[in-house]
Amino acid sequence: MKHLLLKLEPVIWLLFGAGLSVGTMLLTGFVLVVGLAIPMGLVPSEALDYERAHALASNGFGRLVLLGLIALPLWKGAHHVRSLSVDFNGGDRDGVVGVLLYTAAALCSLIAIVAVVRL
């Protein structure tokens, strides 16, 4: 397992780096408006009623942005949690922990592709 992780390291680091940079840039505005401002009534909920939300999300660019908003934070999260696990538990279980976390991120990314395609 450790050998496989070492082989995939460039891809994992690419996704981690993208999650750290692009994911952070995208999440800031999304969380600010969708996660906080609309639920707290600071922005009217009509701004993201079904018709408008669907129109924004279902074009090609919208789908790409949504896929980035889902998948990139997942990979950033998986890699950072793995490194946190190494810091606290040492490298003995790193192979298993890494495979579990990256599998979860990959599965959720696949579901995300399905989710944006079926919009």
């Binding site: 999650g19 750290l20 940079s21 994911g23 952070t24 840039m25 995208l26 999440l27 800031t28 505005g29 999304f30 969380v31 600010l32 408006v33 969708v34 996660g35 906080l36 401002a37 609309i38 639920p39 707290m40 922005v43 009217p44 909920s45 009509e46 701004a47 993201l48 079904y50 408008r52 939300a53 669907h54 924004l56 999300a57 949504l66 908003l69 889902i70 998948a71 990139l72 934070p73 997942l74 950033k76 999260g77 998986a78 890699h79 950072h80 949690v81 490194s83 946190l84 810091d87 979860a104 991120a105 959720c108 579901i111 995300a112 989710a115 944006v116 079926r118 919009l119």
Partner: protein, 145 residues
């Protein structure tokens, strides 16, 4: 006449086990301020992972239709969701300030064809891009554009 001694001149005739204690990590290693910040940076991974699944949940509901979308948007008003999104915002700002303001200006490739820019300039460029993207994205989501 003196001359330099052989480096092994004082070595014992036979190699024995070392008498120094094996290295050990002190129990309070995580308490040092620098390490604590580093660990907090790593811990934002948990928040990012959960944030990704929350967005996935929203997009899935959007694909299911108007009723599922209305329900999931109502659910976002729950205090737990609000607390999580407040934590996500704090995490995102922490990661952005640490990564864009501290790490990336020092991570420029050296020796390549591109010039190495002043750290302050790199920081300013990335912060500007972050602020501009956040502003435009927020205005679009809020229905102002």
């Amino acid at each position: 006449m003196t001359r330099a001694a052989h480096p092994e001149a004082m070595a014992p005739p036979k190699k024995g086990p070392t008498r120094t204690a094996p290295p050990q990590i002190p129990g309070s290693w995580w308490g040092a301020p620098r390490i604590r910040t580093y660990l907090l940076f790593g811990a934002t991974g948990v928040v990012y992972f959960l944030a990704g699944t929350v967005v996935l949940h929203l997009v899935w509901a959007l694909g299911k239709g108007p009723d599922a979308w209305a329900k999931v948007m109502d659910d976002l008003s729950h205090p737990l969701y609000l607390a999580f999104h407040a934590l996500t915002l704090i995490s995102v700002l922490f990661v952005g300030i640490r990564a864009f303001g501290t790490m990336m200006p020092k991570m420029q490739p050296r020796g390549g064809p591109l010039p190495v820019l002043a750290p302050g300039l790199v920081r300013g460029l990335i912060y500007s891009a972050w602020a501009a993207l956040t502003l435009v994205f927020s205005l679009i989501l809020a229905g102002k554009i």
